[in-house]
């Protein structure tokens, strides 16, 4: 967290109103999509009571209705237009943690959780936190080893593993 500009002078990336409209529109599409699927499997009444789609179908209707309401409310609100959802540099900081996290999850899939978490923690500390290399490597190693000991060894909660663990016979 090295950058200087504070949120006060951060230029706006997008207004709260736009984001709210987008979220509501997405929810509305989702409700149509789910509602349709439930209608397909039957949202009426069978002789023995409601069909499988009955409950979720009406929930989709409820979701659709409230998101439409949300769209109208957001369109009519003046304050939301002024309100900054996120500033440029603030969003940059969000991406700086979110993108590495996606990378981390990819790594978990490839080489197992423990090695991936070592790389993730160490790299994050070095590149995002600008911390010393040896500190970062040590922290990553100690944390990953501790997690391995607690979860895999002590409590028998098995995590995805890769070639390194296999080499040690796990």
């Amino acid at each position: 967290m090295s950058d200087g500009p504070h949120a006060d002078v951060d230029p706006a990336l997008v207004s709260t109103r736009s984001v709210e409209l987008a979220v509501m529109a997405l929810l509305f599409c989702l409700s149509i999509f789910l509602g349709w699927d439930n209608w397909r499997i039957g949202a009426g009444w069978a002789p023995d009571g409601p069909q499988a789609g009955y409950f979720p179908f009406y929930l989709s209707v409820l979701l659709g209705g409230s998101s439409l309401w949300g769209i109208v409310a957001a369109l009519r609100s003046e304050e939301l237009r002024e309100e900054i959802f996120v500033g440029c540099s603030a969003f940059g900081r969000v991406l700086r943690v979110f993108l590495p996290t996606i990378g981390f999850v990819f790594l978990v899939q490839l080489i197992g959780l423990y090695v991936a978490s070592f790389i993730f923690i160490a790299a994050f500390m070095v590149f995002v936190g600008k911390l010393k290399l040896w500190k970062s490597l040590l922290t990553g190693f100690v944390f990953s080893a501790l997690m391995f000991y607690v979860f895999d060894v002590q409590f028998n909660v098995l995590m995805p593993k890769g070639p390194l663990e296999a080499a040690f016979g796990f």
Partner: protein, 510 residues
């Protein structure tokens, strides 16, 4: 006095070396969870839930509930020392806690906060001890329509009493229910909303959702807000503790009032957050020098902390007695019950006496132990916050990933957690509350089952929900709660009084 006997039995179950050790571990972990941004009550408990899969249910619930107590205590530390609430329910604590710390009274503020938490908690536990068995006995008569009516009441209360816009609460609820319905239908065996995907067949596990919604999204928010922990020194000397304790009896009315508010809001799903604000506002209004609130008055710390802790504890009452959690964390604990093979609901008090009374006994002991531990270890936990966030953030993310994976041993769940993280971030920033969604995710299947079981053989008539006095009362009450804002306005109109109740100081995120 049957309750007292059962309670003694509970202490008997609890007082083994193993359980006491778990309790200490739980409290320390809980304080850590409460102190760290990005880890809160619900997702802290959710991440550690997999560790308890192999334990016996009593030890497991002792560990997890102690994490909860610890988190409740821990939230106050960051509020007072760093002016950064570790939990949403400790926002109100910052109003007077941080000014006190700035004046060099950090130790007094912390002592007051912890003692107040303890007081509120014990009040709520006593309520649980005597009221829960009674409610459970009463609820044994419930059939599916009654249960559905109670679920309805829970959700209508959310909509009617929530602080957020109504449509946003309804969105959150409906989405939670829909996500809960994904997968195999329990009654007909049909597949719902899976769209041919094998991964969706298992449905959405609510633990994964909780970890993403609360954990990952918090990290994103913390990063965005550029958290920097520049705080006051924390050292608590025993003499200060004594001195502060000696002044507390003066504030007995504040303590009692906040406990009552907390117990009430905790049982109804208003939650600890609302309770802490309400406790603060009422203390301010009734205090002789209310004008000095916000400048570092000890009452301003006592009131919200008592209420928040009482509410957090009381949230377990409906969970134990009816199987309906009163808060997000209670919902996760309820999920834990199901994982351990226990059937939540009134029968717990009959069939799982050891478990229930062990848990209640652990609430007493856990809070006493928590008070002592937290007073002794404040400097330690405060120093945790001086660790750079770039070190803490990846560790929390890794913990979240472990927790999400362990639920069903599925890689897909880690991706799902990331997705929920983004959803949580967007929802939090657009003011869509997350707690109703969590509750709906946990209770969705049960509520639907109750609805369909009540409906068997009926062709669409909703008369069953008014078929006898009991269910009729609950259903009507639910509708009253749903339309409470309208009813409240109508009453005000009739009275012709224009005075409005000041809304609780909302924590604006943006």
């Amino acid at each position: 006095m049957e309750a007292l006997e059962s309670l003694l039995h509970g202490f008997g179950v609890l007082l083994t070396f193993h359980n006491m050790l778990l309790m200490l571990v739980g409290i320390c972990l809980g304080i850590l969870v409460g102190v760290l941004p990005g880890l809160g009550g619900p997702n802290g408990v959710a991440i550690l839930l997999p560790l308890t899969f192999t334990m016996d249910p009593t030890s497991a619930i002792v560990l997890l509930s102690c994490i909860y107590w610890g988190a409740l205590f821990g939230g106050a530390i960051t509020s007072i020392l760093f002016n950064i609430p570790g939990e949403a329910w400790s926002v109100a604590t910052t109003f007077d806690g941080y000014p006190m710390a700035q004046k060099g009274q950090a130790a007094e503020a912390l002592t007051a906060a912890f003692t107040a938490s303890f007081f509120g908690s014990i009040a709520a536990v006593m309520l649980i001890t005597f009221l829960a068995p009674w409610i459970a006995t009463f609820a044994l008569r419930f059939g599916p329509p009654e249960f559905f009516a109670v679920y309805l009441l829970t959700f209508c209360t959310f909509v009617g009493l929530g602080k957020e816009s109504r449509h946003k609460i309804i969105i959150s609820l409906a989405l939670g229910f829909l996500l809960a319905a994904v997968g195999m239908d329990t009654v007909s065996g049909e597949l719902r909303m899976t769209f041919g995907s094998v991964e969706l067949l298992r449905g959405f596990d609510f633990l994964v959702a909780v970890i993403g919604l609360f954990g990952i999204s918090e990290i994103l928010l913390a990063m965005e807000e550029h958290l920097a922990f520049k705080g006051q020194e924390a050292k608590i000397r025993l003499s200060v503790v004594w001195r502060t304790w000696l002044t507390l009896p003066r504030y007995w009315l504040t303590l009692l009032r906040s406990s009552a508010i907390g117990c009430w809001l905790g049982v109804t799903p208003g939650g600890a957050i609302a309770a802490s604000f309400m406790g603060y506002n009422l203390a301010k209004r009734f205090s002789r020098d209310g004008a000095n609130f916000g400048k570092g008055k000890i009452e301003g710390v006592l009131a919200p902390e008592t209420a928040a802790h009482a509410a957090g504890t009381a949230a377990l009452l409906p969970m134990l007695a009816l199987g309906i959690p009163g808060s997000g964390t209670a919902a996760v604990l309820l999920g834990g019950l199901m994982v351990w093979g226990l059937q939540p609901g009134p029968l717990l008090f009959v069939e799982q006496k050891d478990f229930v009374w062990g848990l209640i006994a652990s609430m007493y002991l856990g809070n006493i132990a928590g008070l002592i531990i937290v007073l002794a270890t404040v400097p330690l936990f405060a120093s945790v916050l001086r660790v750079p966030f770039a070190t803490i953030a990846p560790m929390i993310i890794v913990s979240c990933a472990i927790g999400a994976f362990a639920v069903q041993n599925a890689m897909f769940d880690i991706w799902l957690m990331l997705g929920f993280g983004v959803v949580g971030y967007l929802f939090k920033k657009t003011g869509i509350p997350l707690a109703p969604m969590t509750l709906a995710l946990v209770l969705g299947d049960k509520a639907e089952d109750a609805f369909r079981q009540s409906m068997i053989g009926l062709d669409g008539g909703l008369g069953i929900f008014w078929s006898n006095k009991l269910v009729g009362t609950i259903t009507t009450l639910a509708l009253v709660m749903l339309f409470w804002p309208l009813i409240g306005k109508a009453i005000e109109l009739v009275r012709g009084s224009g005075r409005s109740v000041p809304a609780g100081g909302e924590s604006s995120r943006a």
